[in-house]
C-alpha cells in the first residue's frame, strides 16, 4: 500500500506548498527547516486542509482529487495523526484519550490494547491522570499512543520524539520499528534530527520553503547532500560560495576560488561551466588539522591557516580556523592536546576533494 501525494496549497501571500512524493509502507522521513511547510503538508494529507489542487491516494483509495472533485472526510481517511501541538483532549484522562479512537472495540480489548501501548511507552502508571497533570514528555508519549492504537491505514507523525530524553527516545524508536514491521503502512514522520532520519528512515523527503528539495534513500540524500538546506540539516557546518576557475575532466575535479578570498579549493566535477558560481558544503569532522605541512597525502587541498577560537563541547573540540575564509573543524580532545593546539597558533588544513559536496543554493 503506497501513499502518493501531489498537491499545491497556498497559505498566504508569502507561503505556498507544492509537493509531490510517494511513500510505500515504511518510514518516510520528512525533513526541513522550521517553516518549510511540513505541518501544512501533513494537514493536507489528513484532510484538515483542503489543497488547492492535486491528488492524494493511499493504494487504491483516492483521498483527494481536485480533478474528480473527491475529498474524503477526515473521519473516513482512517489515519493516525500525531499533532505537533499534541491536541490531547484536556478533559479526558490519558486512558480515555488513548481509547478514544477505538470505541468500536469491546471494552476488554480496548483496555488491553491501551495498556499494552502505554506500557511500551512507559506511561502506564499515568492512565488516570489528565493531560495537564503529567509532564511534557509524558504528554508526547500519550499522544503518540493515541495515534498508534487505532491501527490506522497510514500514520502521520509530526515530530513525535520531540520532548523526550535520549533513552526514552531510543526505546520508542525501537518500538516504532517493531510496530511498523507488524503494520505495513506508510508512516510520514516529521523530524528535525538527521539521527532519527538515519535510525528510522527507509526514505527521506526534504522540504524547503514549500518545495521538495531532496527525495530518496537517507544515505543518498543526506550523506551527499545536493542542496544547501539538506547540507545544513544534516550538519554540514561549512557552506561556501565558490567560483569555478578551471575544470580537470581526467581527475574528475574542478578548481574553484572561494568568494571573498584568494583561497582556491579542488572540488568534485559538477555540471557547471567555468566562471559559474557554485556552493559547496564540507563536514567539520571531515577536515583534518595538522601542525606541520602535510606531505605525501592523497588529499588535494592543503591550506596554511590560523586558529581563531577553541571551544570544547563534550567529547569533541570545535575549532574555528581562518584560511582566507573561516572553517569550522571538529577534532577529538586527545588530538587537540597531543597537537598542542591553542588560539592564535598556526595550523595546516587538509581537505579531500571528495569531502566537498556541491549543493544547490536555497533561493
Amino acid at each position: 500500500m503506497q501513499l502518493s501525494v501531489r498537491i499545491a496549497k497556498r497559505l498566504s501571500k508569502s507561503f505556498s506548498l507544492e509537493a509531490e512524493f510517494d511513500a510505500p509502507a515504511g518510514f518516510a522521513m520528512l525533513l526541513g527547516p522550521s517553516g518549510a511547510g511540513k505541518t501544512t503538508l501533513l494537514n493536507c494529507i489528513a484532510g484538515l486542509l483542503r489543497p488547492d489542487a492535486g491528488r492524494i491516494a493511499l493504494g487504491e483509495r483516492v483521498l483527494f482529487d481536485s480533478a474528480s472533485r473527491t475529498n474524503l472526510p477526515v473521519q473516513e481517511r482512517k489515519l493516525g495523526y500525531l499533532f505537533q501541538n499534541l491536541a490531547l483532549f484536556p478533559h479526558l484522562t490519558i486512558a480515555q484519550n488513548v481509547k478514544y479512537g477505538i470505541s468500536h472495540l469491546p471494552a476488554e480489548q480496548r483496555s488491553e490494547r491501551m495498556t499494552a501501548m502505554l506500557e511500551s511507552f512507559r506511561i502506564a502508571h499515568l492512565v488516570d491522570r489528565k493531560p495537564s497533570e503529567i509532564s511534557g514528555g509524558e504528554r508526547q508519549r500519550a499522544a503518540l499512543a493515541r495515534s498508534l492504537v487505532t491501527n490506522p491505514t497510514m500514520l502521520l507523525l509530526d515530530e513525535p520524539l520531540l520532548a523526550l530524553d535520549v533513552v526514552t527516545k531510543a526505546k520508542i524508536v525501537d518500538d516504532l520499528r517493531i510496530w511498523n514491521a507488524e503494520h505495513a503502512i506508510p508512516i510520514v514522520y516529521v523530524t528535525h534530527s538527521p539521527q532519527e532520519a538515519y535510525a528510522l528512515g527507509e526514505r527521506v523527503v526534504v522540504l524547503d520553503a514549500g518545495r521538495v528539495v531532496g527525495r530518496g534513500m537517507p544515505n543518498e540524500v543526506l550523506a551527499a547532500p545536493r542542496h544547501e538546506t539538506i547540507a545544513q540539516i544534516v550538519g554540514f557546518e561549512n557552506v561556501f560560495d565558490v567560483t569555478v576557475k578551471s575544470v580537470s575532466e581526467s581527475q574528475g575535479t574542478m578548481l574553484c576560488q572561494m568568494d571573498g578570498s584568494l583561497t582556491e579549493i579542488d572540488v568534485p566535477l559538477g555540471h557547471v561551466e567555468i566562471g559559474e558560481r557554485v556552493r559547496i558544503a564540507i563536514r567539520a569532522g571531515d577536515i583534518i588539522a595538522a601542525t606541520e605541512r602535510p606531505q605525501h597525502l592523497s588529499a588535494r587541498n592543503n591550506f596554511a591557516a590560523r586558529i581563531v577560537s577553541i571551544r570544547r563541547e563534550g567529547p569533541r573540540v570545535i575549532l574555528l580556523i581562518e584560511a582566507g575564509v573561516t572553517f569550522e573543524v571538529h577534532v577529538t580532545p586527545r588530538a587537540c592536546d597531543e597537537l598542542g593546539l591553542a588560539e592564535g597558533s598556526p595550523v595546516w588544513l587538509v581537505i579531500k576533494s571528495y569531502s566537498c559536496h556541491l549543493v544547490a543554493p536555497r533561493e
Partner: protein
C-alpha cells in the same frame, strides 16, 4: 395558604421546557457556532428576537398565533380536539419560544471557544461529527451549556407575562407559582404572597446552592487545570504575602 398544585405545575413546566430547550437549543447553537454560511447573522438575530419583546406582548402574539382564529390554531384543534392555548402544551410551547435565546446564546458562545485543534484531532481519530460533539465539544463547553440551562430553567420558573397570556391562569392547569404569587399581591394578600415567594426563594436557593457546590466538588464543568497542582498558585489568584 400554600398552593402546591401551582408549585408542582411550575416545576413540571420548567423541567419540560428546559429539556426541550436542551434538545432544540443545542443543535441550533452548534449550527450557529460551526456554520460558515454567509447570512448566519440573520438566523442569529431571529433567535435573539424573543429577548426584546415584552413578555406580555410576546404572549399576546403567541396567543393570537395559537388561538382558534389562526390557521395554525384551527389545524391543531382539528387534530387534537381542543385548542392549544390554556393547556399545558400551549404553555410549554410559549415558554420554549420565550426562553430559547437564553439557552442558545450562552451555548453558542461556549461552543465557539472550543479549540479547533481538538475537533480536528477527534476527526482524525475517526469520530463522526455527532460523536465529536458529544465527547469533545459538549464537555469542553459545559460551563456555557449549564449556564444556558440554568438561565432558561430559572427564566421559565419566574416566567410571568407569556404564561399569563397563553395560560389563562387556570388553577391546576396553567396557574404557575409566579402567577399565583401575583394574584396574592393583586389581592393585597401580602402575607400569602410573601409566603409563596419565600418558599420559591428557599427552594431555588437550595437547588442552586447544591448545584454550585456539587459542581465545585465534582467539577462538572471542565476547567483548565481544575485540580492540577498548578491550580493553587495561579497568577490570577491572590498570592498571600506575610
Amino acid at each position: 395558604m400554600m398552593d402546591w398544585s401551582a408549585i408542582f405545575l411550575t416545576l413540571r413546566l420548567a423541567l419540560v421546557v428546559c429539556a426541550l430547550l436542551l434538545i432544540i437549543g443545542m443543535p441550533i447553537a452548534s449550527w450557529l457556532s460551526f456554520s460558515k454560511w454567509r447570512y448566519k447573522f440573520f438566523v442569529e438575530s431571529i433567535v435573539a428576537l424573543p429577548l426584546v419583546l415584552p413578555p406580555t406582548v410576546l404572549g399576546f402574539y403567541v396567543l393570537v398565533a395559537m388561538g382558534s382564529q389562526s390557521p395554525f390554531g384551527r389545524w391543531y384543534q382539528s387534530i387534537s380536539g381542543h385548542a392549544m392555548p390554556f393547556t399545558f402544551t400551549g404553555l410549554v410551547i410559549a415558554s420554549v419560544i420565550y426562553s430559547l435565546p437564553f439557552a442558545v446564546q450562552p451555548m453558542t458562545a461556549a461552543f465557539g471557544q472550543v479549540d479547533r485543534n481538538l475537533i480536528n484531532a477527534s476527526s482524525t481519530l475517526g469520530a463522526s461529527r455527532l460523536r465529536t460533539f458529544i465527547r469533545i465539544v459538549l464537555p469542553l463547553s459545559l460551563g456555557g451549556v449549564v449556564t444556558g440551562v440554568v438561565l432558561s430553567f430559572a427564566h421559565t420558573l419566574g416566567e410571568f407575562g407569556v404564561v399569563l397570556m397563553v395560560g389563562g391562569n387556570i388553577p391546576g392547569v396553567t396557574q404557575t407559582v409566579s402567577i399565583a404569587i401575583y394574584d396574592h399581591v393583586q389581592a393585597l394578600d401580602y402575607a400569602g404572597a410573601n409566603h409563596m415567594a419565600l418558599l420559591l426563594l428557599a427552594f431555588s436557593f437550595i437547588t442552586l446552592s447544591i448545584t454550585y457546590s456539587l459542581n465545585r466538588r465534582a467539577g462538572i464543568f471542565y476547567r483548565p487545570y481544575r485540580d492540577s497542582a498548578l491550580r493553587p498558585e495561579v497568577g490570577f489568584a491572590k498570592t498571600r504575602r506575610h
